[in-house]
């Protein structure tokens, strides 16, 4: 999976929900990308230097394009949200390891802005997946698309749609079972999912997030704590951008 640094061209930009944007980019990154990997986007504004890591939400090899779904968080994502069709943005990717495709009955879990990276995974699993999605409120996004790939359960923080609670509440209340868990979302959610998986003895992959500078494993900015001494670093640290973002839940400290 060679990394590509190039100017990607915006094919389409749409708003999915309040502050949530979807952007299709024509880029050779599509040729190399796997579910669970991410890209670094760079700002046009010259005073903002660091990458904005964004997960790959969909890969369309026919169009040589990838889809990014992102939430407005600060100045970088705001800049991206203003990009129009045919405009360009600098991209580096694909980055990180991605999800391994395993199991017969996967449980795919996404929370908040952790929902988008699970879409390509759900598509590629081609298994009898249970998909559990957590949202803040009724500003759902991508739900319909997930429905093509498995049984979708919804939880919302405010109870406006689906279960009033968290994705783990769904897992417990609906007695969701499976032989492998994939999860992406905020840290407290990942911690709860990890605990659930341990209890049930289910193998569990989680996708982590950390502030990045290089995005390719050189700066040691983006580490997360590991249970054992990491093979590369020789300390209890693994690089989210290179050794992750996907880790076996049991291997990292949350």
């Amino acid at each position: 999976m060679a990394k590509i640094q190039e100017m990607a061209t915006v094919l389409e930009q749409t708003i999915l929900a309040e502050s949530v944007y979807s952007m299709w980019l024509a880029t050779n990154v599509a040729k190399e990308a796997a579910a669970g990997q991410f890209v670094s986007l760079y700002c046009g504004e010259g005073s903002r230097l660091l990458p904005r890591p964004i997960s790959i939400c969909q890969i369309d090899t026919d169009r040589n394009a990838i889809r990014l779904v992102y939430r407005l968080a600060g100045k970088g994502t705001k800049e991206f949200s203003k990009l129009q069709t045919d405009e360009q943005v600098r991209i580096l990717g694909p980055l990180g390891n991605g999800f391994p495709l395993e199991g017969q009955h996967p449980i795919v879990i996404g929370g908040g802005i952790g929902v988008p990276p699970m879409l390509e995974l759900a598509k590629q699993l081609k298994q009898d997946s249970t998909i559990v999605l957590g949202y803040r409120d009724d500003q759902l996004f991508l739900k319909e698309q997930f429905e093509s790939y498995g049984q979708v359960e919804i939880a919302t923080d405010d109870g406006s749609v689906g279960l009033h609670g968290t994705v783990v509440d769904v897992l417990r209340q609906k007695n969701v079972t499976g032989d492998v868990i994939y999860a992406c979302g905020p840290k407290p959610m990942l911690a709860a999912v990890k605990k659930f998986a341990e209890e049930k003895g289910i193998k569990c992959y989680i996708s982590m997030e950390e502030r990045m500078a290089c995005g390719i494993g050189a700066c040691l900015g983006c580490v997360c704590q590991t249970k054992e001494v990491d093979a590369h670093s020789h300390v209890h640290n693994a690089r989210v951008c290179k050794d992750g973002p996907v880790f076996l839940a049991e291997e990292v400290e949350l």
Binding site: E210, A213, I216, G217
Partner: protein
């Protein structure tokens, strides 16, 4: 056209190096950059034993720059010699190993170890890291300490010694003279400037370590000033760094008195930065009808 420069007897094919800690040991960037085209690769700081570094967040963006508080995470000198040095074996470039430590004895242990490594052309002694509690900058802000550690290192070093200076000082020339008095072969500057960022929404420090080292284009004018001042104050060759992102920045540094330059933060947002800079220096030489890059060193004074 001659782009070669000489640092204490070591000849670099061109003046473009990478800055310690921004390029790993070269493996990650070798996917983007032909390492054979670099004057030298400077590795991430290495200590006698593995260091875990600081808690995250370790990096934050600031205008035209960044803060880092990695805290010198490194796998220790043994792994470094077994894994990272052999990787560089295959390349036709100079290898400079950046050395860190908590105590003088730590530094010396690493320096001794590296004395046996043929692949290592020079040592860069980091006495200027603002992100660790012990060692690092503590050695670099007091001229007596600078001179003492330089002397000790020189006693034990088999390779030429580069002392890396901190910009967080009142008078950089005082530190440069102390390193010169201690027997340093080369000086490199600047390391990062101590900075801070506060997240006003979460009302917390952007870095777990509270403060971090600032780097990137924002610090370039300070680096140029310090390189110039040091070039006027000592006879040693200087490796200039701090905010170099393009050939213009590199040439400024050379005109101010640097014999070679290191590119750091720019690698993060432009993995090809070093090669573009090497090419850009050649273009400039052509345009200005300069036959020998050495004629540019300190040409503005």
């Amino acid at each position: 056209m001659n782009t070669q420069v000489n640092l204490a007897g070591v000849t670099l094919k061109n003046p473009v190096m990478v800055a310690s800690g921004t390029f790993g040991s070269g493996a990650e960037y070798s996917e983007f950059v032909d390492l054979n085209r670099l004057g030298a690769v400077v590795t991430k700081g290495v200590a006698n034993v593995p260091w875990p570094g600081n808690a995250t967040p370790r990096v934050a963006e600031v205008r035209s720059g960044m803060l880092n508080a990695i805290g010198l995470q490194n796998p220790g000198i043994d792994v470094f010699c077994q894994r990272d040095l052999p990787f560089l074996e295959g390349y036709d470039t100079k290898v400079i190993v950046n050395v860190c430590g908590k105590t003088t004895a730590d530094y010396l242990e690493v320096v001794e170890c590296l004395g046996q490594e043929k692949r290592v052309d020079m040592l860069e002694i980091n006495i200027s890291c603002p992100n660790v509690k012990e060692g690092g900058i503590a050695f670099g802000q007091d001229p007596k300490a600078v001179e003492a550690i330089t002397k000790e290192v020189k006693k034990h070093a088999k390779q030429p010694v580069i002392m890396k200076l901190s910009p967080n000082v009142t008078d950089i020339t005082e530190m440069a003279r102390a390193a010169e008095a201690g027997g340093a072969d080369v000086l490199s500057l600047i390391n990062t400037l101590t900075g801070m960022k506060i997240d006003i929404n979460r009302q917390t420090f952007a870095l777990a370590n509270k403060t971090g080292g600032m780097s990137g284009p924002a610090v370039h004018p300070i680096a140029v000033r310090m390189v110039y001042q040091v070039a006027q104050a000592v006879k040693l060759p200087i490796i200039g760094m701090g905010g170099i992102e393009n050939a213009e920045d590199a040439i400024e540094m050379i005109l101010a008195g640097a014999t070679a330059v290191s590119v750091g933060t720019a690698n993060f947002y432009n993995p090809m930065a070093t090669l573009e800079i090497a090419d850009g220096i050649e273009d400039y030489m052509k345009r200005m009808h300069v036959e020998n890059v050495q004629d540019l060193i300190g040409a503005v004074h």
